[in-house]
Subunit: 219 residues, 4 copies
DNA sequence: GATGAATGAGGATTCATTCAT
DNA sequence: AATGAATGAATCCTCATTCAT
């Protein structure tokens, strides 16, 4: 076997272990505050020896950062990527909000991680804020939104979104809650009442499709 | 000196020590997550011996609960108490939002504690949610607000409020930001544009008064 | 009981525990290299809980420094203190060398600690070097010693002394070995042959006295 | 290519890797206590994978022993080998002392390793002690040295030598310090003052030669 | 009631060593 | 032979809690 081949096998394995550690940390992290997560829990969840953890991460912090980074990547691929195909900023905004909240419904682990660190952990927080800001500014530029204070609008969108997610995770069961939240936000941004409704409730294949969208399998 | 008098002096002292411990815990808590707060920090801040702490609280949890309870009390006295004098639910809502945010501007310790545990710690969370719900329902009943989904409206009010507070604590400097947020929320609840503005910006003595409102001195 | 009295009791106890930790560390340290000494061994030797150690010393280094400091103190009181009563620098030097080596014979723990860190650990090393230097310079000034290179003389005295100590600790059994070493060093420093012998072998009460000189009891 | 040739190439390579590991361990060891040297540091210094280390040494101890053995070999070849050409035991002794100290001046790594384990590590310690003892006994036998206690003389020679080396490594800069030490020791052993000086300072080609004597390249 | 020394369970981290590729 | 991923025992350190004074 060639050295390069051997190396690439080693690398692949290394990458797999690293991913499984991140995935384990992510699952543990879904259930408790960041400071309460112990390395013991992570390695137990990953079914890996204690020392192995330290072959991949120097500290507990580091793995949590990696979780945030992985989620951020995920999000860029799943949510914001779809946006680019939609021209209307209002429709894009609605789509993103709905995706977010539906995702939390399907996968409560995901939801709790977002609620817990969506505004704190480094790369994740930026990804979210950036996505919202981009759409908002495009909407304003194109006359789609009427907004007097942009910062206030962002606080409203993010705050409402996160709080709604928490409500969902707390057991709120209306299946069209994501759509109602999207509609409410669109109206707040100055979109006409009727139009807001039709945009927020329009059929999205990515949401109705019968797939079990599951982040655990991504890393 | 009469025994009863001595006793009451003892009680007063006991109460003072307890308060100073809660205040110390509160100040420490403003700077870090709940799980990261150590008893060492609290007793150092309170300048009290380790054993003394355990004369007042059985566990670390207990003092944190007491902090939330004390804040909740505070809040009932300062914010919601003033509401009862105002008839119009819209005006009441605006007043509460502005008080909240101005309070965070004046006292960032207070702000951080609210942001950190406003939605988690037991009695505090209820106090806030209850206050908002009461005003919202009154507004709906009196035809002041147009709301199709009450839960969504609550998520919007609380979420936007907390996110705005975070923005302020992060260094956002517009001095009328609380008013802009209040206006935005009123409009979202269906209050007429112009009226929303005048209500949100009306002069509030409790805000302009030249008092140094300081929670530290209350407990 | 008065507060001050209570405090002093507390202090006394504190001092006792600290001393017992230093003594334990010293005993452990006699048997292995500094880097090989674990806190577990120290607390086992001191019969104290793990946490107690950290109430007194922040790190392992700190307790080792304290051991060196305590030894240095000891040495100032026992060896150099006696020197001051002797006028002749040659006699002083001989006395110190003999004390050193006899001490190692009586208490091999002490000997090993000196051999191991006598030239490394901060305050101890200085105490020894300083004592030797002082006597040497006095002897030169008073025409008692003929020395062309002072640094070389110091290296000779310290080096020979430590190596002789190691020989003793290794099981060398001549009971007058300390005296022979003292005589050899005096001759090297230029003292007349006969005189060197009589000085090195003169009766020293502090050495013949039937006391069980035991450092363990000092700290 | 013949199998035997291939085998010998393999052996040569094996020997080279082994040497580079010993050399790496030696360099690391120059900077810290034996117990503080980690395998990680050694393999990093040797730029070799972890597993490779264990193809050559079973344990960490083993490589340290190998370092001592290699040094011992070196020493036999460089220092004692030259002695055999010199007839006069006093001149031989002086030559060895000078070589020792000059070597430490040229290569402080070497010096530190000697100071650190010259008296502890198995084969090295014996080589040194043996060399000194041989010369000393020859000198006594030939009436060159006047020594009453042989053990004391050995302690003096080794102790003074090591301490002088430490002084040099600590930054002492007299370039003829090795010669002064050699002279001092000769005089102590009973060699006539003047003769001691001329022997200790006689020109030694092996010291003045413009070669960069460097142990790193030997293993 | 106040004090602070002592405790020990729990969690973080290091590092020598094994082993499959 | 060389590699480096995986292991887990050993060690360090923190901190909530107890208790005698």
């Amino acid at each position: 076997m060639q050295p390069s081949q051997r190396a690439s096998i080693g690398l692949a394995k290394r990458e797999r272990t690293r991913s499984s550690l991140i995935a384990a940390a992510y699952r543990v992290f879904a259930h408790k505050e960041a400071d309460a997560v112990t390395i013991d829990e992570i390695i137990a969840e990953a079914a890996v020896a204690r020392g192995t953890f330290y072959n991949y991460f120097q500290t507990r912090e580091e793995v949590l950062t990696a979780v945030a980074a992985a989620l951020s990547d995920e999000m860029n691929h799943s949510i914001w990527a779809q946006s680019t195909e939609i021209e209307d900023p209002a429709a894009r905004m609605a789509m993103a909000i709905r995706q977010f909240l539906h995702q939390a419904m399907r996968d409560s682990n995901w939801g709790w991680v977002i609620v817990r660190c969506g505004l704190v952990a480094a790369p994740l927080s930026e990804t979210i804020t950036m996505g919202v800001t981009t759409d908002l500014e495009a909407g304003i530029r194109m006359g789609r939104f009427q907004v007097t204070n942009q910062q206030a609008a962002i606080d409203l969108i993010l705050g409402t979104g996160l709080m709604a997610m928490r409500t969902i995770l707390g057991g709120h069961l209306e299946t069209d809650y994501p759509e109602q939240i999207a509609e409410l936000i669109l109206k707040t941004l100055g979109v006409d009442k009727k139009e807001a409704h039709s945009i927020a409730f329009q059929v999205l294949e990515s949401l109705t499709a019968d797939r079990t969208y599951c982040y655990e399998h991504k890393f």
